[in-house]
Point group: C2
Chain length 184, copies 2
DNA sequence: GCTAGAAAGCTAATGCTATTAGCCGCAGGC
DNA sequence: GCCTGCGGCTAATAGCATTAGCTTTCTAGC
């Protein structure tokens, strides 16, 4: 191999920093090249094109989220596990809004693997609720929808009303738990 | 006035058609100009720049959504009103995924007015639940988070699992109603 | 130690995009 | 009938992604 100054992984690292610092709109190959101290076309030796980089970045971020959320749920069960899952999701998005925004507008292709992991983590968190098969899948989807919807609300500024988002979060969590407990 | 072939409104009309047909990424001033049968710089007579057009488009779409959702809720109350609100939100997004995707990645500035209207509609839909002041705001936020989260799930393909999204939707609605009824 | 080849960089060039500057013609008010 | 401004135009600039083809440099095999 020639000078291994750059690599596929290193390029994604730089992309992460860019979306962290300047938001997803700032993710251009020029910006990455500038940070790498390299001419723009050189990046094509590591990445197919900009769309490819975006996919790799999404996969990376979703993988990180799965790690973070998975670690939080580990060793807990019942309401506590559910709480840990939602809290972890929220805290990841709060800490890395730029990364999360990238994933949202991502193509689905590269994110299926970490996506499945997140589904499994959700299923594990819900184990104590005694949901079977499809019912569990629907519940996990609701968790995902709630977590995502709330995250967008929080990072977008939530209509700018003075009410505390923490309280909204509590209500949402209450809705989820009530819905899981109450018979249909 | 000279030939009023084009106008601010007409430009936004064309933008709507573009995101409908080719998605939000296809919204460029070139594309709009091509549809208008006009040179690209001519658009600057009607619109400040691309960002401005995106803002106008977001405002338009969110206004449409408020109309659609508002009409659905009108004359209903209780669970029925809530149901109508969520159904209308979902159906709008399903019918116009491109428009909705545009709003998501919008700046907040131009969307505050229709956003407030949507909040008011939500408050009206929840009137029968006897929520006071801040509690009602939190509930509306939860509705918005749920509707948005589910919409993204639905338009993005929802992990590709075989379970019917209609059933997920029912569970989510059940969660909301349970949470609103059950005491905290 | 030498050399062949590939990996990883480079420059040049193309084409698309937004955006600005400045020009021209027509319509309506005086 | 003239003047003004609106709404179009062309030309030009600059940033971006992407491709082609060249060069350098390291490494592996001998």
């Amino acid at each position: 191999m020639a000078r291994a100054a750059l690599s596929r992984e290193a390029v994604v690292d730089l992309a992460v920093r860019i979306v962290d610092e300047d938001g997803p709109a700032a993710l251009t190959l020029s910006a990455v090249a500038a940070r790498a101290g390299v001419a723009t076309p050189s990046l094509y030796k590591h990445v197919r094109n900009l769309a490819d980089l975006r996919e790799l970045l999404s996969a990376r971020v979703l993988g990180e989220m799965a790690d973070h959320v998975g670690a939080a749920v580990l060793g807990r069960s019942g309401d506590e596990a559910l709480r840990a899952l939602m809290d972890a999701w929220r805290s990841y998005v709060t800490r890395h809004p730029g990364r999360y925004a990238t994933v949202i507008q991502a193509p689905v292709a590269a994110t299926v693997e970490p996506g499945k992991r997140l589904v499994d983590i959700g299923l594990a968190a819900l184990r104590a609720y005694g949901l079977t098969g499809s019912e569990a899948i629907h519940a996990v989807r609701c968790l995902r929808a709630a977590a995502h919807g709330f995250s967008v609300l929080e990072t977008a500024g939530g209509f700018g009303l003075p009410e505390k988002l923490d309280d909204t979060y509590e209500l949402m969590f209450h809705m989820i738990v009530s819905g899981l407990r109450a018979p249909r």
